[in-house]
Symmetry: C2
């Protein structure tokens, strides 16, 4: 998606450790008009008339997932990150390793809001190693729901999270894939 | 807001400890159409043509704040909850007591995304004792920005968070104020 790539080049910053910071429009301050354009772009790829919900993980995925769900006319459910092992019943849960916090966190979704009849489009703002995404997929499978696709705004291709999922057959569609950060310069994958 | 009150009565559940659970449409599964109606209702009360941004706190406020910001044509900024005392520079921060986690958390907003020229509308899905709200107000004041108002979807009136802010002169507008939970029955304040 050209508009998103240009925005990343113009406003993104590369920090030590190959961290790509896009917090001016995607995951701290959110450009809500851009989120609308991203939602439209996903709708050109996925069959959004045939989903029952959009699923994401808290916190930074919520803004984009909300705009998508509103456009597609379905509810948005966000998996919560449990802060303790003391979790009540009636929940699907999946343990993931949090790259951000460098520790195990548990993603949870109430069984009330996700079930075998659901057709789920997973949306997230960012994917690197894909740990959170694997937790969301695990939850969809535990619920017996149908996974209709995975839409990502910005993927860090060189961390292999997206490609490893594609190799396993998942339909992962990212609107900007960063394949390298060479000396502070962001290099996008050509075919996305 | 009649539609919201009816929704709370129909789908909300009262749990032990006077916890009012509205996670089927507000803060776990999110009814994005209802969020749009709530955003319109805030726009009838606040001068949304005269704001530069919507501010909220992660995580559950993000969905509603995003829909509001999109309708009003401004960016949405969400304060992050820092998990440690080890916080980098360039940030406004405010320590709050988290009712949810029963411990101190620090709300942070990058100074880059909030400044003296900003006119801020704070939006949140829920207010009880108002601890998180006081953190957000503190951050707006530290930035030298102008606070244009505080819009809340559901306020627990009996926990005094909203009324204590009103007594101090803040323009707090809540669309449903729960004044009592008598034997599991939800009682709304009449004049809201």
């Amino acid at each position: 998606m050209q508009q998103l790539k240009e925005r990343i080049l113009r406003e993104g910053r590369v920090l030590p450790g190959n961290i790509v910071k896009v917090d001016g429009f995607l995951n701290h301050r959110v450009d809500t008009a851009l989120m609308g354009d991203i939602a439209d772009e996903f709708a050109r790829y996925f069959d959004t008339n045939n989903i029952t919900m959009v699923l994401t993980a808290e916190a930074s995925g919520i803004a984009l997932a909300t705009v998508c769900a509103q456009k597609y006319g379905v509810p948005m459910v966000f998996a919560k990150k449990a802060k303790s092992d003391n979790i009540e019943g009636g929940l699907y849960q999946s343990d993931i390793f949090s790259y951000t916090y460098k520790k195990k966190v548990t993603l949870i979704v109430a069984q009330e809001w996700l079930g075998p009849d659901d057709k789920v489009l997973i949306i997230d703002d960012f994917m690197a190693k894909g740990y959170a995404m694997r937790g969301l997929i695990d939850i969809v499978q535990k619920a017996g729901a149908q996974l209709m696709g995975i839409g990502i705004a910005v993927e860090k291709g060189f961390q292999d999270g997206g490609d490893s999922l594609r190799r396993e057959g998942y339909d992962v569609h990212s609107l900007a894939i960063i394949d390298a950060v060479d000396g502070g310069k962001i290099v996008f994958r050509e075919d996305c």
